[in-house]
Amino acid sequence: MLFDQAVDIPEIFKSERVSVTLIEGKARYNLRVKAADVTAFKKSTGLKLPSKIGSSSLSKVVSCLKLGPDEWLVIANSTQQKKLDKVFEKASKDFICSITDISHRNIGFEVSGELAAKLINVGCPLDLSLTAFPVGKVTRTIFESAQIMLLRTGEDSFHVECWRSFAPYLRDYFKRVMTTRY
């Protein structure tokens, strides 16, 4: 990979009750599709685009996250990239839409363990109780002063995504909290 900024992130921080892992090998796309085209777009691409802001359709292969009224983030295994590139190439001809490959723009962390929500709450004021932020909920928000995307993948696990250049900042912040508290 040519983008070596932030690649020196060690893969894992682990303590008994919480761990932070770098998520590798993902293809990411940002989609902007007009409301009137969504149904046809879903049919054409076969993607399960959720309709409510903040909701997601999660799978091991391709996950679709709705971030805004007409905006989705698609995160897939990198093995799917060639196939998705083709699907999107066709869709971009059939629809007036915006599809941007942001695979290398973002870095993902998995934060998991019984203290995962607590660790995130050190830098983020969202209510992360299971009622207010259930499994599958996603949103863009702020962690300390960096913009992140936060997705709950399980009761005790989160996917935190940020721009590549913000990743060392997040890594060091997680590390500082973990070494001083847990």
């Binding site: 802001i53 903040g54 009224p69 004021p125």
Partner: protein, 111 residues
């Protein structure tokens, strides 16, 4: 810090996720008007604002959230938000603002 209700996310979110974006309901001159507008007309459109003391219709941007602009009625003296509503919907009337204010007070009394 306080929370602002985003009409697109339909959730109250922390103030730090939002940016203020100036007075609301200022209509950009259309393509026909633009060529015949004087410098004075332009300066009025670009720079002249009401700067009112009290309940002010203004734009906010949920930039660290759904990334949408929306409108809000906020009291510039107390910093209290009376209501927020989606971009493109008409300016709220004094009566609608009164109703929203009373509902807020009633909701607050309940909790």
């Amino acid at each position: 810090m306080f929370e602002i209700h985003c009409p697109y996310c339909n959730e109250k979110r922390a103030e730090i996720e939002f940016s203020y974006a100036g007075e609301a309901h200022i209509v950009r001159p259309n393509a026909k008007q633009q060529p015949v507008m004087s410098d004075e007309d332009w300066s009025r459109y670009m720079f002249i604002r009401d700067n009112i003391r009290g309940e002010h219709a203004e734009r906010w941007w949920h930039n660290a959230g759904c990334n949408m602009f929306f409108n809000a009625i906020r009291n510039t003296v107390t910093d209290k938000f009376v209501m927020t509503y989606k971009m493109g919907s008409p300016r709220r009337t004094a009566k609608q603002i009164d109703v929203a204010r009373e509902t807020n007070t009633a909701d607050k009394a309940k909790t």
